[in-house]
Amino acid sequence: MSKQMTGAKMVVQALIDQGVDTVFGYPGGAVLPIYDEIFQQNHIQHILVRHEQGAVHAAEGYARSTGKPGVALVTSGPGATNAVTGLTDALMDSIPIIVLTGQVPTFMIGSDAFQEADTVGITRPCTKHNWLVKETDTLSGVMHEAFHVATSGRPGPVLIDIPKDVQFASGTYTEKAKRKSHYAPQVKGDIEMITELAKAMEKAKRPVFYTGGGIINSGPAATQLLRELVAATNFPITSTLMGLGCYPASGDNWLGMLGMHGLYEANMAMHDCDLMINIGARFDDRITGRVDAFSPKSKKAHIDIDASSINKVIHVDMPILGDCAHVLEDLLNVWKSRGRKTDKENLAKWWGQINEWRKVDCLAFKQEGKTIRPQHALTRLEELTKGHDRYITTEVGQHQMWAAQYLGFEDPNRWMTSGGLGTMGYGFPASIGVQMAHRDSLVINVAGEASWLMNMQELGTAMQYQLPVKQFILNNERLGMVRQWQELLHGERYSQSWSEALPDFVKLADAFGAKGIICSDPADLDDAIMEMINHDGPVVFDCLVEKHENCFPMIPSGKPHNEMLLGENADTANAIQGAGGALV
């Protein structure tokens, strides 16, 4: 029993069959038939963004905060090219999204037609896979395959380019269940290697779990199993920027984030460990620092669903190809059945060492005087929003790193940030996507003023759909992260790193009909934050902060983990003494 329908209707039907409830998009000539179908149904809500980049980041935010794929719909030519940044962002951070693009009719492809772009050519390197559909009969099959590819194995963005004549023509609709795909990545890990790892865990004197976004992508089961494993072994755990929330920040074994702006204790533990267990992270250069000095004394295990991530940057002793949840389950079972052994005595010494490092208190700062320090603003934000059903997105820069350092994440899918690509302009549209998925939650975008301006047009979207997203802008009137590098590495020559001619953010909010709040006095901060939280609608919060603050700790690129730069207030003297005291 096959159903005949137009290509445009197939698109909508396939989205419904795939359980999609929200599409972020922007219309244009080449997608009008699809928009016509969207108009005539009530299953899917379409969110009209103000720029196609916003649609893709919103879809990313939706996906990351729900664990379901996000969907964006844009027109041909400029619509498609505007989607490229979001696609690349999703590829780098393994976010499952489906982007549908209109294309000029098949008979005009290659003729430099109006709004024609070689979309599959342009997006081939920035999608996990893409398709140009030339026959309506194949369209629904491709749609279902696209969801399968985006969400299985290492997730990622996919794109379907649909010429306008294919949307108009009729064809046969294939049901979701009817299709079979050859694409089926391995999810079970090699049990021998898992046993090897369990043995290594029994003998480890200085173990550490190094976790990443792969755990969150794998789903709630992976998080659950990880927490169980940490509790049972009492091993310390750190995480990349992308993995924050897979282990609760309030948990006893939590070392904080690692990497270039990671915590002192996390990086030192990585450097000095004798067993590193990487679960769903990829030895990114922000993590490893200088590769040949990376954790020189450790045996390394790496659990990853993507074979190309294993041994790409760092040679590992125990490669385990598979899905985090599957492998963690087997690992727990093997380790338990072998008698739940750890080297408790040496583990206690290791914790002693870690606690010495913790005394460095690398995130310490003093809030003095009349200027708000950004660390203080985030500490207050954390304090005042802690109990809330809270989701955080960020832009890119110093504020992003401070957010990662000073906000605590108890659960996965609560933290949306552009890690791999570092896309300024990600956070605002992402917050819109998150809020669409969680209408009653508190969604805050921790922003820098420069990043925020990159996609500020989305304030229109937030207003139109009454999405009460809070834009918490740490305004240092600087491209702060750029300025920091120029200060530390380019002889304090501050080339083009000022944010000049900034708008009056309160008036700007007002112009869109949103609420604007400005705060510059530390004494007013709590009240202002509460005002933001309590306002039922979009808020633009202009938090004027210290302009020349640097983000520490910092491992300059090309440096090993034990050559960190620490902030002014970290208790360095004590650190050397403390750690030195533990030297054997």
Partner: protein, 187 residues
């Protein structure tokens, strides 16, 4: 435990002195990649090599199974063992790639390439060219009073050697197919 080297504030060192790699010997590998015969699949494979900075020494592609929609891409590439492993893993990640075989490590294999050589000359050069062609078991597939087109099959090394010999004898043009390769014995 490692000595602590803590610095405060700025450093005069550049941020850009990045990484040393594993630094092994460069090896030459022949890969057979079985792909879904769909538009763009060759572009994906080539894009992977150019995008990630891998070498392609030769590449051939043709459909091998019409009903199954499968093509075989034979790639000769070179790199350190770590790079070769990356190439294979990256190829394996491409959605329409069904299988990646490293013929260089999967036991013995045969490699053949076909080439056409246009050689123009008169007198002794012409006679010498024909004589050498005979030794190399090249066929004459076109001839005029001033020129020959030779067809030769063999390993890339054999074809290189033939090219070296033809050069002083009036070699004008060469067309090579690139390597096709199969493992020896039953699969």
């Amino acid at each position: 435990m490692s000595p602590l080297k803590i610095k405060k504030g700025s450093t005069s060192h550049s941020a850009y002195d990045l990484r040393s790699t594993f630094g092994d010997e460069v090896e030459r590998h022949t890969l057979a990649v079985i792909v879904e015969n769909e538009p763009g699949v060759l572009a994906r494979v080539i894009g992977l090599f150019s995008g990630r900075g891998y070498n392609i020494e030769s590449l051939t592609v043709a459909e091998i199974d019409h009903t199954g929609h499968l093509s075989r891409i034979t790639i000769v590439t070179s790199g350190t063992p770590q790079v070769i492993n990356q190439i294979k893993a990256q190829l394996g990640r491409i959605v329409p790639v069904h299988d990646v075989h490293d013929l260089t490590v999967e036991g013995a294999s045969v490699e053949r390439e076909l080439a056409l050589f246009k050689v123009a000359g008169k007198g002794d050069h012409r006679i010498e060219a024909i004589r050498l062609a005979d030794i190399f078991r090249a066929n004459v597939v076109d001839s005029t009073l001033e020129s020959f087109v030779f067809e030769i099959t063999g390993t890339p090394e054999k074809i290189d050697a033939f090219a070296d010999l033809m050069r002083p004898l009036g070699l004008q043009e060469v067309a090579r197919t690139g390597v096709a390769a199969l493992s020896r014995g039953a699969s």
